[in-house]
Symmetry: D2
Subunit: 181 residues, 4 copies
């Protein structure tokens, strides 16, 4: 299976600068995360697009993300996008709108705590995104915290610090087949 991972910055890839004590988006960390996972039979390509806090993404940045996904779709069985959580929903809705007949799963993921921290949720979320590449039907999703939620209608819940299906779109993200008894 061939997948492409598109990196855009976000909390997941914030790193600590020892000279000035700042936390910055300087470089992607996703290859380090994948180095800690066992992924036989998964060929991974990387497309580094941006290193930005997602609050700073412009319309043009988002257009660049959508265009990159459109381009890599042709050669990928699935696409994972590492993205900041603050405006992940905006990008998810844009992908859903701009790529209506997306032929493969496009999975957004990220983290509430940067990968460089001991207690980061990044390894969990990336593990889930990579499994969703195999299990999800075509569509645009966020993979985080044991849930795969399908766009449209996914939002960040700022009180519980995770993503939820918005009330108006309340439905199971992936219908499970009924058992054949």
């Amino acid at each position: 299976m061939n997948i492409t991972i598109v990196t855009t910055g976000g909390t997941i890839s914030k790193t600590f600068n020892e000279a000035d004590g700042s936390l910055r988006n300087d470089r992607p960390v996703i290859e380090a995360i994948l180095a800690g996972l066992r992924l036989p039979d998964l060929a991974v390509s990387y497309r580094h697009v941006l290193s930005k806090d997602s609050l700073e993404l412009t319309d043009e940045d988002r257009r660049l993300i959508v265009d990159t996904v459109r381009q890599v779709l042709r050669e990928s069985d699935a696409v994972v996008i590492a993205h900041g959580t603050d405006t992940l929903s905006v990008t998810g809705e844009a992908l859903h709108r701009e790529l209506p007949a997306v032929p493969v799963p496009v999975i957004l993921t990220g983290a509430m705590r940067p990968y460089e921290f001991r207690d980061s949720d990044a390894p969990q979320n990336v593990t889930e995104a990579l499994l969703a590449c195999r299990l999800s039907p075509p569509g645009v999703y966020v993979a985080m915290h044991n849930r795969i939620l399908r766009f449209p209608g996914v939002v960040k819940d700022r009180s519980s610090l995770t993503f939820v299906q918005s009330a108006s779109e309340n439905r199971p993200s992936i219908p499970r087949e009924t058992p054949v008894a």
Copy 2:
């Protein structure tokens, strides 16, 4: 979502005894693994059945595992079984045979390297098993190393140290839906 985790021992839960330098199955480690994950909206019950290297499981032990799964199925939306990898396939085939109309996903998992080791694959595999609880149709599976493989016909490949679908049963474990363009 309510799931039950059944623990049976195996490499995943081997712990180091400092007094004699041995590696043993003394206690389950799965609660420690889940403590490192973010699982909103997942209610987890534990059923500790055995603490054994899976090479030492008897027919009676395996009957006990099957009976426990049959019992917890009634009150669970999914069941995860932490199991040694050496005879995981034997237990998977027994579950598939004894529970032909299983109404929920039953996900076997484990690890090639005990959880107590820095480079253990246990957190990845448990993360995948817990996501497969949500995404997989009813059936008996192994979740490991970015793959969810469905019984019957799953075997441990001793050269690559992972699980594979055996040749005679070669088919996608979960058919993906076709895109609705």
Copy 3:
């Protein structure tokens, strides 16, 4: 052996706030670091004085630190102070000046990278400070990066991101005894 650990904030104890993505001095982390060490025969008391970036320490804050050390000296075989690195030298010089006949080792330590990060130097530095409590003669020191440097004359080297003995005070921090052959 009885030691007291005085906490003042600094990079070592910066923690990540998931709600706003900031890195802050909210609480000491030193007890978590000691929980990962084996310290038989060491009785540790904690005195939490400040939670500040050391660039923000006022003269009054520093007086509070010196007064706290003077007070806990009476009941301690050694004192460790967790401190930000940016103005650690200022506090070290103040302690050296204000406590000229200090009867036990007073060891300043900290970190270039907060403890919450995977690659933090905090566990190393705290391990070294706790060993210096046993091995160093009375005096005021910084323990960091495999060196125990004695005040006066210790400065942070901003290019190599560690502490060094300043040129004008160049001397071995602790004279080693000559072997008795």
Copy 4:
């Protein structure tokens, strides 16, 4: 400062074999431990002598260790020996006896739990051994668990799983200088 690290095996360097589930002495791990430490101004050479559980060391093996230390002493400001804990005292006594006028500190260390385990005491003990290289007068020592104990008269306490000065040799391992008030 130039030090030499002599590796002999022991619990500290036991690694897990995924093919058969065994814990073995196959290769030294000390370079991986040092890679996690910040050691400016420390030049380290390695001498890999043995990969053995220390219960299996023969008289000839121990002679080889003593001869290696005697040889590297000439070009080192200190020597660290990574060793199994079960017979570390035997080797320590032999070094003390065979190298009576040792001109530099010779520091034995090891671990109760292999380095590959998450909760290993190896990083702490190696950090302490490397600091004792700088702080200890010439002599033969064990560095472990916040203590530097000097041979002769150091034994493993099997109930508390650490090293202690034996009763007949009860004395401070390194006399601290008296404060000059």
